[in-house]
Symmetry: C2
Subunit: 345 residues, 2 copies
């Protein structure tokens, strides 16, 4: 297995962005967001995305030097105009503001408009949880999920993310898309000629199928419940901000010169505002440990809680590096050479 | 079909509570909460619960005359000690406070402790949405759902509820339990010797089964995703408040003299704080109407949005009354007689 160290790949990503005249704070957030996500084992939203971001930057979709505008009519709610910069940078600016609001007033809620792809929702919620706050993070995305009873996709695979700090370990973190499996997983099943579980995908006519080669759209997790959650996220990200919704959102991987006008939403709540944060973290640890000690149906599959697989991956990958394919390694070597970064790969 | 008018049954419920020396505001919230829920078609959380509540009141579980205590360390977060009163009354007191906070500061978040069953989560979120705010409402419940990979239940069927106002119609309202179907539905399938869908329930050993007679526990909707959402709700309702969690929560229908120590959580966000609420409501209406106009797989099943079935039920039941069984009618007649209420049944 080929691996690449988190430190090295972060240097390559950040320096590549700086060479393209990206604002240093934005470059740091993109690099840190992508690398921490890969270290947590979430390959789909990690370092592999940098090549797409660089292409979108060069094509003019992404603004390298944003001038944020904040409209804050009341102390704990605001709209951040991201000026078409990187979603990672915009989301982190929103998280920073939400944390500041929550520190002073108990809670903070920031809707982001005119943004681009922000990567993993967890990056922002985890930052908030690191401040002893409860963090939420949502983004909408282009159309992929079929509403219940419909024959075509409308909403995106909009994620719901919630994080809270725990005594003696990393935060609890639920970061879930509103489909049962991702489209990346469908692609992987195509490659191995596998089948998807029932109720996961549908063909071009909206008919459910387990053949990954026929799947062009995804079904919402839990039927109308996943559809409802996806709509909740859409309301927070586009109805609140005036951004386009569902089928009106431009596609991520086509027309790279086109602005995306994406919306996100992040929220922070001070735990100390409700009571002692230390006591909260101990109580949460106790509940999570009780859950982990529950008897499992299959001894090989212990009971876990949301975020446990990512914590395990983080422990391993921080030591051993991030697994990459030969092709992925070559792409990072190319950045290292092209920009004369000189990282030891 | 026997029906009972919403107005009549509300009178009977409220007057019964008043005769039992319940605080008038609390009695109003219990009556309004139960009747509006039945009018919205949610039979499981509607008027049928009054008989249980009256029994729990007489047994000493529920405090008829609460003295609420609010601890508010920061302007937009608070803990409301419900003094063991009716959950409907406590939840409405929390919603009132959250709305007041959100009006002044943009958002408000109230965790409730020492409460009892609060009925349908939507009652509180809809009240918030009626103030042109985005409302959220959560409660935990006693253990019923099996964590992924486990062989026994731990968390309750904790609901997630989100409501937002819409131009020209009632609010959008997602109110979803974190199982695919309710235990009431399992009971109904037992009566008709039906089978449940796959992935809904498990037997006493935690093994998944489609035989409703064998089902003693429910599986989370969407596997680990429903489990994660349920855990998120548990954190907001018990970790934040210090109330017991999951298996430590006393059962609803046994030991009626025992206090329940339940927690809830309600949140409000001012839409005007983000931009013009009127424009928001028009945008949301446009999106919902576009969804409703989507082509459906089966013409008999149009595409709907969360809350549409409840809106339909409300329109019908407000005219024709709430359907009840003969036995249910007799129970309300008994209250009418016992308490000398004199409602025309």
């Amino acid at each position: 297995m080929i691996t690449i160290s988190g430190t090295t790949v972060k240097t390559i990503i950040k320096e590549s962005l700086l060479r393209e005249q990206v604002d240093p704070t934005a470059a740091e957030h993109v690099a840190e967001g992508l690398v921490s996500t890969s270290l947590r084992g979430v390959n789909s939203h990690g370092i592999r995305l940098i090549h797409h971001y660089l292409a979108a930057l060069k094509a003019g979709r992404i603004n390298p030097k944003p001038r944020y505008k904040v409209e804050r009519r009341l102390p704990t709610v605001a709209v951040l105009d991201a000026d078409d910069t990187f979603g990672h940078a915009a989301g982190m600016e929103a998280a920073r503001l939400a944390i500041e609001m929550a520190g002073e007033y108990g809670s903070g809620n920031v809707a982001v408009k005119n943004s681009t792809h922000y990567g993993a929702a967890a990056y922002f919620a985890l930052e908030i949880a690191a401040h002893d706050m409860i963090g939420t993070s949502y983004t909408h995305a282009d159309s992929l999920i079929i509403p219940t009873n419909s024959k075509r996709s409308f909403l995106g695979n909009n994620p719901v993310c919630f994080a809270a700090p725990v005594a003696g370990e990393g935060p609890f973190c639920l970061d879930m898309a509103t489909s049962l499996i991702t489209f990346n997983e469908v692609r992987r099943l195509r490659e191995i000629n596998g089948t998807t579980p029932e109720g996961v995908g549908a063909d071009k006519d909206g008919k459910p199928t387990t053949n990954p080669h026929e799947i062009t759209m995804l079904l919402p997790v839990g039927g109308h419940k996943g559809y409802g959650l996806s709509l909740m996220v859409e309301i927070l990200c586009s109805t609140l901000t005036g951004m386009p919704f569902g089928p009106h959102i431009s596609k991520m991987f086509v027309d790279l010169e086109k602005k995306r006008h994406l919306g996100h939403f992040v929220g922070a709540m001070s735990i100390d505002g409700f009571g002692d944060a230390g006591a909260f973290k101990l109580r949460l640890r106790q509940m999570l440990d009780e859950l982990r000690a529950e008897p499992s149906l299959d001894p090989a599959k212990p009971v876990m809680v949301a975020g446990d697989p990512e914590k395990k991956a983080f422990a391993i990958r921080s030591q051993d590096g991030i697994p990459v394919t030969e092709q992925e390694l070559a792409q990072f070597q190319a950045l290292n050479t092209t920009y004369g970064i000189g990282a030891a790969l």
